[in-house]
C-alpha cells in the first residue's frame, strides 16, 4: 500500500510540476477570491481582519474543489483510470497517493493565501504554530474528503458540478474548526482555546482517511 501510495503521489506531483495548473491557475484564483472578498467587505481594515480567518478557509475550500477536479481529470483522459485498475494497484495506496499529492499542492496554496490574508486584510497572527497546525490538519481533512468524493463523482458526466455540491457541505467541520483556530491564533489568547477545535480536525482527518482507505476501491470499481 505505501509503495503504491508513493508511486501515485510521485506521479501526480510530477504531472503538476510539468503542467503547473495549481500555481498558474488555482493559486491566482484563490488570490482573486481574497481580493473580491476585500472589495465586498469595504475599506475598513478592522472588519477585514476580523473576517480574515473565515475568508481564508472559504478561499481554501474553493481551491480544494479545483485541485480535486484537476486530480480527477488527470485520470479521466485517455482511460488512465482504467490503466490504473488494470495494473492491479492497491486501491488504498491509490487513494493515499492521490490524497498526499493534493495535500502537498494545498499546503503551497495555503501559504500563498495566508500571505495574501496578512497583506490584504492586515491580519496579525499572535500564535503562528496554531496556524501551521490548523493548516496541516485542515489540509489532510480536505485532501482526504476531496479525493474520496472526487472518485465518487469521477465516472459521471456532471462531475464538475456534482463535486462541489458533495464536497463543500462535508467540509464544513474543517471550515468551522479552521476558522475558530485562526481566530484564537490571531486573538493571541491561550493556545487551549483552540485545542478543542484542533482535536475536532484530528478526529475528522482520522475518520475520513479511514473511510477513504476502505471505500475508495469499491467506489473506483462502480464509478
Amino acid at each position: 500500500m505505501w509503495r503504491d501510495a508513493a508511486l501515485i503521489a510521485g506521479k501526480d506531483l510530477r504531472i503538476e510540476g510539468r503542467s503547473r495548473v495549481a500555481l498558474s491557475q488555482v493559486a491566482p484564483f484563490g488570490i482573486v477570491a481574497l481580493v473580491l472578498f476585500a472589495f465586498a467587505l469595504g475599506p475598513d481594515r478592522q472588519v477585514m481582519a476580523k473576517g480574515a480567518p473565515g475568508l481564508f478557509w472559504v478561499a481554501v475550500l474553493f481551491c480544494t474543489v479545483l485541485a480535486i477536479q484537476r486530480s480527477v481529470s488527470v485520470e479521466s483522459s485517455d482511460g488512465a483510470s482504467d490503466g490504473l485498475r488494470l495494473s492491479g494497484i492497491d486501491p488504498a495506496g491509490l487513494y493515499l497517493g492521490k490524497a498526499v499529492a493534493v495535500a502537498a499542492q494545498l499546503i503551497v496554496l495555503e501559504a500563498l493565501l495566508a500571505a495574501g490574508v496578512v497583506l490584504l486584510y492586515g491580519a496579525r497572527i499572535a500564535v503562528p504554530w496554531m496556524i501551521v497546525v490548523s493548516c496541516v490538519l485542515g489540509t489532510i481533512g480536505l485532501a482526504a474528503t476531496g479525493t474520496l468524493y472526487g472518485a465518487l463523482s469521477s465516472g459521471l458526466r456532471v462531475r464538475e458540478t456534482l463535486l462541489p455540491f458533495l464536497l463543500l457541505p462535508i467540509a464544513v467541520p474543517v471550515l468551522l474548526a479552521g476558522t475558530r483556530i485562526w481566530q484564537a491564533a490571531m486573538a493571541g489568547g491561550t493556545p487551549s482555546s483552540g485545542m478543542a477545535w484542533l482535536r475536532l480536525l484530528l478526529v475528522f482527518d482520522v475518520v475520513y482517511l479511514a473511510a477513504g482507505v476502505v471505500l475508495f476501491g469499491p467506489i473506483q470499481e462502480t464509478a
Partner: protein, 257 residues
C-alpha cells in the same frame, strides 16, 4: 510438496451476462480459451468484442453466469488477476504530461513488473532517443499505441487481450506487433485478439470465434500458430460455422471436455 495444478483454461465463460445499466453488453456468452492458445474474436461493430475483453480483464463484472481467468474468479481475486492480464484497448492509458519513458516506467512499476524490461521494450517499439523524452501529449495516435504496446511487452503478462491491435499502427509497427504476438504464443502466453477485420490477424490465431449480439454465434479453425497447450475444454456442444462469401455452412460438433 505436491505440485500446483495449472488451469487448463486461461479463460472460461459460461452463460455470461454483463450489463451496462440495463443494456446487455454480453448476452449469455460461452467461451473457453486454453492456456497458450491464440484466439481471434471477430464480429461487427457493437457485437460485444470489446466488452468481452473488458470482462476478461475484470473491468466489467458479470451480472450472471460464470467467469474464470487463469483459474481464478476475477471478482474475488481482482488484483491478482489484473496483474496477470494485459489489455491493449482503444485508449492508451497514458498521461500527457509525462514523457514516453516515464509513462512506461510508471505503468510497469504500478503493475509490479520487472523494471529491467523497460529499456528492451522501449527499444522493441523504437521508443528511443528524443521520442523517449517526448511528452505523451505530443505523440500521434500510432505512437501512443506503440507506447501502450511497450507497456504490454515490458509487463509480459500471462494473458494478452488485444482490442483491434493493428488500429492506428503503420506497416512496420504491425509487423513488430505480429512478431510480439507470435513470440508470446511460442512461450505459452494466451492471446485473445478482437478485431472486426479478421484478415490481417488470422495468421496469428489457431481459432476464430464470431461474436454477434453479445454471444458466440460461430467458431472456425484457423491455420495460425497459437494452438495452445491443450485443446479448449468445452463442456457443451458448440456451433461451428465455415463462413464463405454469401454462404454460411453450419455444422454441429460435439466436443469432449
Amino acid at each position: 510438496m505436491a505440485p500446483v495444478a495449472l488451469p487448463s483454461s486461461a479463460v472460461s465463460l459460461r452463460d455470461a451476462v454483463a450489463l451496462s445499466g440495463r443494456f446487455p453488453l454480453l448476452a449469455g456468452i460461452d467461451l473457453e480459451v486454453a492456456v497458450g492458445e491464440t484466439v481471434l474474436v471477430e464480429g461487427p461493430n457493437g457485437a460485444g468484442k470489446t466488452s468481452l475483453l473488458r470482462v476478461c480483464a475484470g473491468l466489467v463484472p458479470l451480472a450472471s453466469g460464470h467467469l474464470s481467468v487463469l483459474g481464478l474468479d476475477p471478482s474475488r481475486n481482482r488484483t491478482v488477476v489484473r496483474r496477470r492480464v494485459g489489455l491493449l484497448s482503444h485508449a492508451s492509458h497514458l498521461y500527457d504530461d509525462l514523457t514516453v519513458r516515464e509513462n512506461v516506467r510508471f505503468a510497469v512499476r504500478a503493475a509490479g513488473g520487472d523494471v529491467s524490461r523497460i529499456d528492451p521494450a522501449c527499444e522493441r517499439w523504437d521508443l528511443v532517443g528524443r521520442l523517449a523524452k517526448t511528452s505523451a501529449g505530443k505523440l500521434s495516435a500510432g505512437q501512443r499505441r506503440r507506447v501502450a504496446l511497450a507497456v504490454l511487452t515490458a509487463r509480459w503478462p500471462e494473458l494478452w487481450l488485444l482490442d483491434e491491435p493493428h488500429a492506428g499502427l503503420d506497416a512496420s509497427a504491425r509487423t513488430l506487433l505480429d512478431r510480439a504476438v507470435l513470440e508470446a504464443a511460442a512461450v505459452g502466453v494466451t492471446v485473445i485478439i478482437a478485431s472486426h477485420e479478421s484478415g490481417p490477424v488470422e495468421d496469428l490465431a489457431s481459432r476464430a470465434v464470431t461474436v454477434t449480439g453479445g454471444r458466440v454465434t460461430a467458431e472456425r479453425s484457423l491455420h495460425g500458430v497459437g494452438g495452445g497447450s491443450t485443446q479448449p475444454a468445452l463442456g457443451t456442444d458448440v456451433q461451428i460455422a465455415d463462413v464463405h462469401v454469401g454462404h454460411v455452412k453450419e455444422a454441429r460438433v460435439a466436443h469432449v471436455a
